[in-house]
């Protein structure tokens, strides 16, 4: 971060610091997001915004991006997440194999390719760049609870200081604030014409209406009843990799840092 411009610099009244709870709560089908009031002076002066996300088991936090880089701390639970970087290859791949996998024997097709997926667990910190699409899925037994701090004063954000979530899916969103007010908003597709999008994607208008989230009242955390299927390493292999990473971290700690 660079120092703020002179015109934006204001006196930080240090004697007015206070501990605050979230003031706005957005309930979705399979979870809830609680926002701290980013207009409060201490958040404004620090140039940050904060929110706490709870994702129920089998809950999918729909893909979204925001105008500020974020740090996510996993307070509880475990699951998977992925950030989609434009131009990066789809390195997780599953093609038809001569030996059908268990899922394919059960009739579930896993032929797909997408960008890398990461497993997260309690205690992890996840760094998310501004403008990069991210999704989270809770494949554990307990709710995932994560607290996020977004650095809206960061140079990567050229919009205003307000944290803005650009939802790629999920609409309309029902908002409830502490004052009991309600508001509805939609995803980014709602602002574009159905015909233009149908042409651009090469799909039917009906499919585009689904992308726009008409009549979808699940909010931005949805329940995936049958569990989410995607390409990923076997759990055993994942655990082995995690253990190797942990071992490497331990070795680095004992060696000290260079």
């Amino acid at each position: 971060r660079q120092p703020r411009r002179q015109t934006e610099r204001r006196e930080w009244r240090l004697e007015r610091l206070e501990a605050v709870e979230p003031s706005r709560r957005i309930q979705a089908e399979a979870g809830v997001i609680e926002y701290w009031d980013q207009n409060q002076e201490q958040f404004q002066l620090a140039g940050v915004a904060a929110y706490r996300t709870t994702i129920e088991p089998k809950g999918l936090l729909l893909p979204y991006y925001s105008n500020a880089p974020r740090l996510v701390y996993i307070i509880q639970g475990n699951g998977v997440t992925s950030s989609v970087f434009p131009g990066c290859p789809e390195t997780f791949q599953s093609f038809q194999q001569s030996e059908p996998r268990e899922e394919e024997r059960r009739g579930e097709s896993l032929r797909d390719q997408h960008q890398k997926i990461h497993r997260f667990r309690e205690g992890d910190v996840i760094a998310l760049p501004a403008g990069v699409t991210t999704w989270f899925y809770n494949d554990g037994e307990t709710p995932v609870v994560a607290v996020t701090v977004a650095d809206s004063g960061n140079n990567a954000n050229q919009l205003d200081q307000t944290l803005r979530r650009f939802e790629l899916a999920g609409s309309p969103e029902r908002r409830e604030s502490s004052e009991g007010e309600e508001a509805f908003s939609g995803n980014v597709f709602r602002g574009l014409n159905v015909d233009v999008l149908a042409e651009a994607f090469g799909v039917s208008r009906e499919t585009i209406r689904k992308l726009q989230g008409h009549d979808d009242r699940r909010g931005n955390i949805v329940r995936v009843e049958r569990g989410l299927q995607f390409v990923r390493p076997e759990r055993r292999q994942e655990r082995q990799e995690e253990e190797e990473e942990e071992e490497e971290r331990r070795r680095r700690r004992t060696r000290g840092t260079n």
């Binding site: 403008g131 050229q158 919009l159 602002g191 651009a200 799909v203 989410l228 390409v231």
Partner: protein
């Protein structure tokens, strides 16, 4: 030192030469990048893929032709901008706002000035788009689509990248 760094610095580059196009489609057009500048050209009725600028605002100046330009913000309640733009006009596209353009019958050519020396664009459709990076299961469950629909959303534009040719069934190709 100054002489080496500044005096001989190359500060001019021609971006209208089609040989220098970074993205080229005979049917749709081309995109030529020069650090923070771009000169895309769309043939008649072609599309500039819906996309957002990850790290910059984009100041679009129309050099030739017309297009229907749509810009969507984070509220998604309706287009922040949905108008025909023509030669000589400037539109500011804020960072992270989704923008789509469809060229008119005489084509569309513009230059974009970006407020970042290494601007990044994230397309919503076609090759290298955000949907290509998402698992089909995430797409299907996010939008309540069937597996087949999710596959079409992900791959509907095949290997086309950023500039899309008009589709025949659209019926928008102007008669000569």
């Amino acid at each position: 030192g100054l002489e080496e760094i500044l005096c001989n610095l190359r500060n001019r580059e021609n971006i209208r030469n089609p040989d220098r196009a970074d993205v080229y489609s005979r049917e749709a057009g081309s995109v030529t990048s020069l650090n923070s500048q771009k000169l895309p050209i769309l043939r008649q009725n072609a599309h500039y893929a819906p996309h957002w600028n990850i790290n910059a605002h984009s100041i679009l100046y129309v050099t030739r032709g017309r297009a229907r330009l749509q810009i969507s913000g984070n509220q998604g309640r309706g287009a922040s901008f949905d108008r025909e733009v023509r030669r000589g006009q400037i539109v500011v596209i804020p960072q992270n706002f989704v923008v789509a353009a469809q060229a008119g019958s005489e084509g569309f050519e513009w230059v974009s000035f970006k407020t970042e020396d290494f601007p990044l664009v994230s397309p919503l459709a076609g090759k290298a788009s955000v949907f290509r990076g998402l698992p089909e299961g995430v797409i299907a469950n996010s939008y309540r689509l069937s597996d087949e629909e999710a596959r079409r959303v992900k791959h509907g534009r095949g290997e086309e990248f950023l500039v899309f040719r008009p589709r025949a069934q659209g019926g928008r190709v102007a008669a000569a």
